[in-house]
Amino acid sequence: MKSVEEVKKTFEYLFTEIEKVIVGQKELLNQMVIGLFCDAHVLLEGYPGLAKTLSVKTLAQLIDLKFSRVQSTPDLLPSDITGTYIIEETTQGKRTFKFQPGPVFANVVLADEINRATPKTQSALLEAMQEKQVTVGNNTFKLDEPFFVIATQNPIEQEGTYPLPEAQSDRFLLKVRATYPTFDEELEIVDRFTEIQKKAQLKPILNKETLLYLQSLTRQVPIANDLKQYAVKLVTTTRQKKDLIEYGASPRASIGLVLAAKARALLEGRKYVSKEDINTLAFPVLRHRIVLHFEAERQGLSEDDVIKQLLK
């Protein structure tokens, strides 16, 4: 890929391919790709049946990345994620311990309903996300690059769940909300999945090396000083608006906002960050990093409403 314009064309083609499988959810797919470019993890929140898992699986297929899925339940153990040693018997009858890698040893890991896993299991995954390595027993195993975790959460049926603490959810770059499709989109979904259909043949468009190159290209996108200050000001304001926000975002949010804005600029074929990038990405970057004050909840304000006020 020789130029930034080619990045835009390539991903336009990629999204066209995804549309063969997924109807709508453009913003969700965009933000997942942004997370990929930033070499960061994404938290997906949405009601059941919104093609969250299918989107991730399709994306992984098109970028030729190894995909694995972990369905979180309360009885899920950390070793179910990281892997464990198993006894293996050789042909000579000798028994040895062999490490059996867990689903975390993939490039794209989909942790479904992460809030259903116990805090111990959650921390095993989060440790892998942070360190990009796994320690089992006395051995440390490095995870393959790129390593991308998409965790999903169901905003309803919160009984018997273990919500991610704010300190842990801070490790996700973006919290993306999957929305319901429009009427026309839902009609198309019905047409596709209620009739006999040929399974879409998807060929990989990108490979691992290209993705790693794109990740380095993302960090090369320049940002004007005043826009950088604007982004940092936005994050620091979350700590100052005490009437609506009890706990504001950390400096990790400033890093995430600028990096995500650069990724969005690259995705759109621009060689510079615009204010629109920052304003658009303020919502997925900040909504899971702020804790609303009781006053905001009393007024019926959501995190997005408060962020909208900050942007004014």
Binding site: V4, I223, N225, L266, K271, Y272
Partner: protein, 274 residues
């Protein structure tokens, strides 16, 4: 220096020149308005340079502070956000930044200086300048004024008899005699002067404010225009003194006074003091 750096420098220089030109134009308007006002109020015209200088300095600072890449981006939408990003990343060297610099350089070649000059505004300003100049010349030639502010200020005692800058004919020490600080010169009391100055008390004779129309009546003078000639050279004789001197008796003194009255006449002036 990189080509983008040179281009940005050229852009800043152009913006500075345009800002200075706009400021100068606005300042000239202020100058002419003030000048007109001073002429109509019969105040010294030199005072107009004070507001001109103050306004020029303040206005230039304001314009130059406001002028920046944001201003260029507002006028040239193709460069929106790209120009200042390129300027801020001049020292950065990577593939994307190089591409951005090239892109901005290509777009900057399409910018014309006319984008930054508001032609309608400049035309209006020049027309107003021309109109004001014409009005000032007319007012000066016709000696029009609304109010003699200088005289009014002198009467009310705001300024001295010599006017705003002082009268050149009135010596400094004479003006000093009117000072209220007890005739102090550079803080020291001057003892040479007292209330009755050598030149007397300064007064002003008011002849009135009506225009005097003087008309020479050629009939009233003894000059006959037809007989006026060029002066002729006079030939003087060599003898400056008269040839003979004769005494003549005046008829007034040849009066015949009777003898009995001659003594009275003779003793008249002697008897007056008695």
């Amino acid at each position: 220096m990189k080509p983008i750096g040179k281009a940005l420098l050229e852009l800043r220089t152009t913006l500075f020149s345009i800002g200075l030109f706009n400021s100068l134009l606005d300042s000239f308007l202020v100058l002419l308005f003030t000048l007109l006002g001073l002429i109509l109020l019969k105040l010294p015209w030199e005072l107009a340079f004070i507001p001109f200088a103050v306004y020029f300095v303040w206005h230039t600072r304001t314009i130059l502070r406001a002028l920046g890449y944001n201003d260029v981006e507002a006028r040239v939408p193709q460069l929106r956000e790209a120009l200042r990003t390129a300027a801020d990343s001049l020292e950065t060297e990577n593939e994307v930044v190089r591409g951005l610099h090239q892109e901005v350089l290509d777009k900057m070649r399409l910018i014309q200086t006319s984008v930054f000059v508001g032609f309608s505004k400049v035309t209006r300003q020049l027309l107003v300048l021309a109109l004001l100049s014409f009005i000032i010349i007319s007012v000066s030639a016709l000696n029009i004024s609304f109010l003699d502010a200088q005289t009014l200020l002198q009467k009310t005692g705001v300024i001295g008899i010599g006017g705003v800058f002082g009268d050149d004919d009135t010596p400094f020490f004479a003006r000093l005699s009117k000072r209220d600080d007890g005739n102090k010169l550079f803080g020291k009391e001057v003892t040479l002067l007292d209330e009755t100055s050598l030149y007397g008390n300064a007064t002003v004779i008011e002849l009135g404010t009506e225009e005097l129309n003087l008309e020479l009546n050629p009939e009233g003078s003894g000059i006959k225009m037809g007989e006026v000639k060029d002066p002729e050279s006079k030939k003087f004789t060599d003898q400056p003194s008269p040839s003979d001197i004769q005494a003549t008796a005046d008829s007034a003194y040849a009066e015949d006074i009777p003898k009995e009255y001659q003594s009275i006449v003779r003793n008249y002036f002697k008897g007056i003091p008695k």
